[in-house]
């Protein structure tokens, strides 16, 4: 029953914007198997090579295979991004929903704190946090989580407050439902439906933030291949070997824009708009065929 249902909706999925994202996710998952070399193995006999059959995208100044480093870099970026997103979602949804559900003074205090964080650029918040706890992979994750949760908290609170006054919530209350029941059964699904969609749009920005922090030397540490890190390494050879900078930069751009496109697609779906001329033409033709069939039926009867 469930299978049949999901299969039938498969055709309506936004494949055009979903494919690039899925492609990158697949690369990240299978990085270990598809990268031709170990990304950290140095090979001084093959330093700064151009593209060849052995090294499709060439090697860097330590003789490491660039393609393998970019592929593994995707994994590093996407894993860090997922950890931050999930942590930020959990914290944000919990705090925001709590604020919206409880209301009153508690809500006021929480929402003020959220607004203060939101009023600062997220990267500034992250940098300040790293300044306190020191650089490193996990402090980068913690810092970015700190910078990102407030957004989701704000959205969750907005959804909770608007849903809370819907008659169906009152109906559940009249039925004798507990607060926990009302929240879990009725409100949380609405919160998640909105917040997860926005999170998919945020994914691109997060990948960029991770690269930025690593570029500044505050995030992923060498020798772990990371695109921001690779950009720094390549800077020294920019004039002779621009591909050391261009290729990781390109990978970064592609990932960020594919996530943004997906987010944009979801955001646009929420706005009702007319059909495209082409779509309308098809529908009109279908209707005309239907009409012809009906009049034929009525004539033959």
């Amino acid at each position: 029953m469930l299978n049949k249902h999901s299969l039938s909706t498969l055709a309506t999925w936004p494949w055009a914007v979903l494919t690039p994202v899925l492609l990158f996710v697949a690369i990240a998952i299978f990085a270990l198997w598809i990268s031709p070399y170990d990304p950290t193995t140095q090979n001084y006999s093959a330093v700064l090579q151009g593209s060849s059959w052995e090294h499709w995208l060439g090697t860097d100044y330590l003789g490491r295979d660039l393609l393998s480093r970019i592929i593994t870099g995707a994994q590093v970026s996407l894993v860090a991004m997922s950890i931050v997103l999930i942590a930020a979602l959990i914290i944000g949804v919990t705090i925001g929903s709590f604020a919206g559900y409880v209301g009153g003074k508690t809500e006021l205090v929480l929402i003020s704190a959220i607004d203060i964080i939101l009023s600062l650029p997220s990267l500034v918040v992250a940098l300040a946090f790293i300044g306190i706890i020191g650089p490193g992979y996990w402090s980068m994750i913690a810092a970015l989580t700190m910078a990102w949760w407030a957004n989701y908290a704000r959205m969750s609170r907005a959804v909770v407050t608007s849903e809370l006054h819907q008659p169906y919530i009152e109906a559940a209350r009249v039925m004798g439902a507990s607060h926990l029941h009302i929240f879990v059964r009725h409100i949380l699904p609405h919160v998640l439906a909105l917040v997860v969609v926005y999170a998919s749009a945020d994914a691109g920005a997060l990948v960029l933030a991770i690269a930025t922090l690593s570029f500044l030397g505050l995030g992923v540490e060498p020798p772990t291949p990371e695109w921001g890190q690779m950009l720094v390494d390549g800077m020294n050879y920019l004039e002779q070997y621009p591909r050391l900078v261009v290729l990781p930069g390109l990978a970064l751009t592609l990932v960020v824009s594919s996530f943004n496109l997906l987010g944009e697609h979801f955001a646009l779906k929420k706005v009702p708009r007319g059909l495209t001329q082409r779509h309308l033409k098809i529908l009109k033709r279908l209707r005309a065929q239907e009409e012809a069939r009906i009049s034929e039926l009525e004539a033959s009867a």
């Binding site: 008659p167 009152e170 109906a171 004798g176």
Partner: protein
């Protein structure tokens, strides 16, 4: 008329904070009445008369500012300490069924929810009860897997009614249950209410502005204006001999669907709109629009008194 009242409303006041601090919106301002067991009671009035607030207060969705509501002699404030007990006795039907049903729940889930909340029976027993409820309100079983938005308006209201009946309550409070429905569907739902009331022995309080429907099915009526009761009586008496000038105007404002009656009917057209409940007129609240108002009406608020041969009325002229 009340041998054993199941609902007693005692000098109820519900005020909301208004735009100005010292000027609350007096949605309900001193209302007392009783509904006896097995009654189909109607509360009628125009918008802003407080009828919806009254219904919400009876089911505990709205806190009373002062006064009390007794359900079988027990105060609503003590009953609300355990909502589940109240829920098993008193249920509510909302005006707009589309809003009152979760848009993410199928009909089946909506009907099962009260049973689930009250931990009634096993999954199989709940399943049987859901089917039973669907039959009770005339809902086809193939509608059970659908979402509210793919149902017609009448079917949605049937689902809402079935859900309200799931716990076998004895009291049903309905807030304008027909106003969101089409005419031909309204008739079906009215017939459904009448049948359910007889079959299940329900006590129904129906908030409505549609007097024709009241006459069809209700046994007693309370007429409200600006947070006060103007007149209360059994349906027969109220429609045959309306005593309060407001009741008379309200009845005469109802047009007839029959052009032969329509062209000859007498009507009292009131001037202006109802005043705002934020700043109700002094004395009798209706005096600003009353065609028969005398000097005393401006100064003294008439008390709700018994009238002959039955019922209650608040008017200096009677």
């Amino acid at each position: 008329m009340s041998s054993n009242p199941v609902i007693e409303v005692q000098d109820l006041k519900v005020h909301f904070p208004g735009q100005h601090k010292n000027q609350p919106v007096r949605a309900i301002d001193g209302v007392s009445f009783e509904v006896s067991a097995g009654d189909f009671h109607a509360i009628v009035g125009e918008s802003g008369c407080g009828k919806t607030t009254l219904a919400r207060t009876i089911v505990g969705l709205q806190k009373a500012t002062s006064g009390d509501i007794l359900i079988r002699g027990q105060s609503i404030t003590s009953l609300l300490k355990n909502r589940k007990t109240l829920a098993r006795d008193v249920q509510f039907v909302f005006q707009n069924p589309l809003g009152a049903l979760s848009r993410r729940q199928t009909v089946y889930q909506s009907l099962e929810e009260p049973l689930f909340i009250h931990r009634k029976g096993t999954a199989a027993e709940r399943h049987r009860r859901v089917l039973e409820l669907a039959d009770l309100v005339g809902l086809p079983h193939n509608a059970l897997d659908r979402l509210p938005r793919s149902l017609s308006g009448g079917q949605r209201q049937r689902v809402a009614i079935a859900r309200a009946l799931a716990l076998n309550p004895s009291i049903l409070i309905c807030d304008e249950p027909l106003s969101a429905l089409d005419v031909s569907i309204q008739a079906q739902i009215v017939a459904l209410f009448a049948r359910l009331q007889k079959e299940l022995g329900l006590t129904i309080v129906m908030i409505t502005h549609d007097l024709s429907v009241v006459r069809e099915v209700c046994s007693s009526v309370t007429v409200m204006y600006l947070g006060r009761i103007m007149e209360a009586n059994n349906t027969e008496q109220l429609f045959e001999q309306p005593a309060h000038p407001y009741t008379q105007a309200l009845l005469s404002s109802v047009p007839s669907p029959d052009p032969r009656i329509e062209s000859s009917r007498q009507r009292i057209v009131l001037k202006g709109d109802p005043p705002s409940p934020m700043n109700p007129p002094s004395g009798c609240r209706f005096h600003t629009r009353c065609l028969r108002a005398i000097e005393n009406c401006k100064n003294a608020e008439p008390a709700l008194q018994p009238q002959r041969p039955s019922g209650l009325i608040a008017c200096h002229l009677v």
